[in-house]
Amino acid sequence: MKTESSTGAAITFDKVGKSFPKKGGGQVTALEDISLSVEPGTITGIIGRSGAGKSTLLRMVNGLEKPTSGKVIVGGRDVGDAKGQALRDIRREVGMIFQHFNLLSSRTVFENVALPLEISGTPSGEIKKRVDDLVARVGLQELSARYPAELSGGQKQRVGIARALATQPKVLLSDEATSALDPETTQTVLELLSDINRDLGLTILLITHEMAVVRDIASHVAVIEDGHIVEDGATYDIFTEPKHPTTQSFLSSVTGVTLPHFIARKLQDTPPAGPAREVLRITFVGDNATDPLLARMSSELGLQVNILAGAVEEIGPRPFGNLLISVEADRAAEARAYLESHEQRTEVLGYVS
């Protein structure tokens, strides 16, 4: 998922730009110079605040929006150029789910899932068989004859997912699919998406403003701000080593590792006179993430370590920890050297007296 477009990518954005004519003349640039490729079978998250352009970017994959410059290639075909039947053929290979589900109120669960098959002209015998399978896959067999108004939000999104899978697409687009759901329901819907990704080898491209969604299911992530991708890469790398301030601020909302207020207030950039303590952020990564490294450092160096905040997170199967500690300022360099020799990352946040 880097700038050069590898030929095997499921989705490739090649220097994509999008601008809209502004009221009263001029142009508004929604996206600029976006290059990103999404490998087949991966779950990729695009995270950004509202208005960052992520929704426009997602809609280019199935041609609901057209790029004003650059190319969007899906399954080897240029979506931006496709029109009429060619575009509709691409769309049948790209499923989409929505924040507000967009189910037809006049159709039952079964009929909603059948809609894309009716549209593609599938014979009714096959529709019945396939829809029954899909409804069972998302666990709604019992509710097949119900109308959307009778379902909970999570159930509606399951119908949305079944419907998006009906034409056996290779790519699934998720437009803030869990943003209207409560945290528990969000988890079950994310698990369903993970299962589908694993079982069907489906490529999933999702947009969200919640880092937790990315952490829970995405293997890759791109951070978008003001129409630009400011950072992208493997989710684990982005979480353990965020570079851009936007990424860092998204992360602070999910990792929950921030300094307690009474310390943050006293924090200074330079060591104060007299006895002082240095405040450090340690990011535990890889196999050492679960080692009792601090305890060992404390006994080996004879250092007093004060733990201020911390958490161990999991990204996919890999754990990583985030700890905020303070140590005596005059021996802090020693502590950092010890930690770095054990392949942990440290960052000096400041000093307190």
Binding site: H100, S120, A149
Partner: protein, 224 residues
């Protein structure tokens, strides 16, 4: 009350029902596609053709701004052309239909515009053609609104039908004018009004019942 009068009332009721029913059906046949087109043909919409949309909009507005009684007499030559005669109950169906088409078209347009645009986006993302979106998404989703609109149209046409006496159309309105007013028979007038009230009540009740049955948006309607 004489048996003769009762017969007249029954016949007039039937004539009114006949005129209103036929003109509603014809009005719906014309109004449904026109209303659908109006709802989908503005710039950037499914059937985007802004020019035709404007022209059609002007025609619809023009027809709707002519008072019905004027419309009835103004189109007498056209009525003769279509119905073979310009007088009588059947001939009256022509102006009633001409009034019904733009009225129903606007009601259908409003009902379709009320459909959540997210559903259109979902259907487009499935690779639906504009016609598929109209047939499988917009019209079914707008159906509760369309049914209520048609109910409103029937009630309005019941009112219009009282004016067709001007061109020899019969029915309750005509009976009320000729007997109740011109021959000063207040009991006839009273009965005509009573029957019209009952008809409107029946139409409104049935219309709302059907609209509720086709409306699956509220959970309480399960199995209704």
């Amino acid at each position: 009350m004489s048996a003769n009068l009762i017969n007249m009332l029954m016949e007039a009721t039937w004539q009114t029902i006949y005129m209103v029913l036929v003109s509603t059906i014809l009005g719906a046949i014309g109004g449904l596609p026109i209303g659908t087109f109006l709802a989908c043909s503005q710039k950037g919409e499914l059937l985007s053709s802004p020019w035709l949309n404007k022209v059609l909009g002007v025609i619809v507005n023009a027809t709707r701004s002519v008072p019905f009684i004027i419309l009835v007499v103004a189109i007498i030559p056209f009525t003769r052309l279509v119905a073979g005669t310009s007088i009588g109950t059947t001939a009256a169906i022509v102006p009633l239909t001409i009034a019904a088409v733009p009225f129903i078209a606007r009601l259908v347009e409003n009902a379709i515009r009320d459909v959540d645009s997210g559903l259109i986006e979902a259907a487009r993302s499935m690779g639906a053609t504009p016609m598929q979106i109209i047939r499988k998404v917009l019209i079914p989703e707008a159906m509760p609104g369309i049914v209520l609109g048609l109910t409103l149209a029937v009630v309005s046409l019941l009112g219009y039908s009282a004016m067709v006496g001007a061109v020899g159309g019969e029915g309750l309105g005509d009976l009320g004018i000729r007997y109740g007013y011109q021959r000063f028979m207040p009991e006839v007038m009273g009965l005509v009004v009573l029957i019209l009230i009952v008809l409107v009540q029946v139409v409104q009740t049935v219309g709302e019942w059907i609209a509720r049955r086709v409306d699956k948006r509220a959970p309480s309607n399960r199995g209704a």
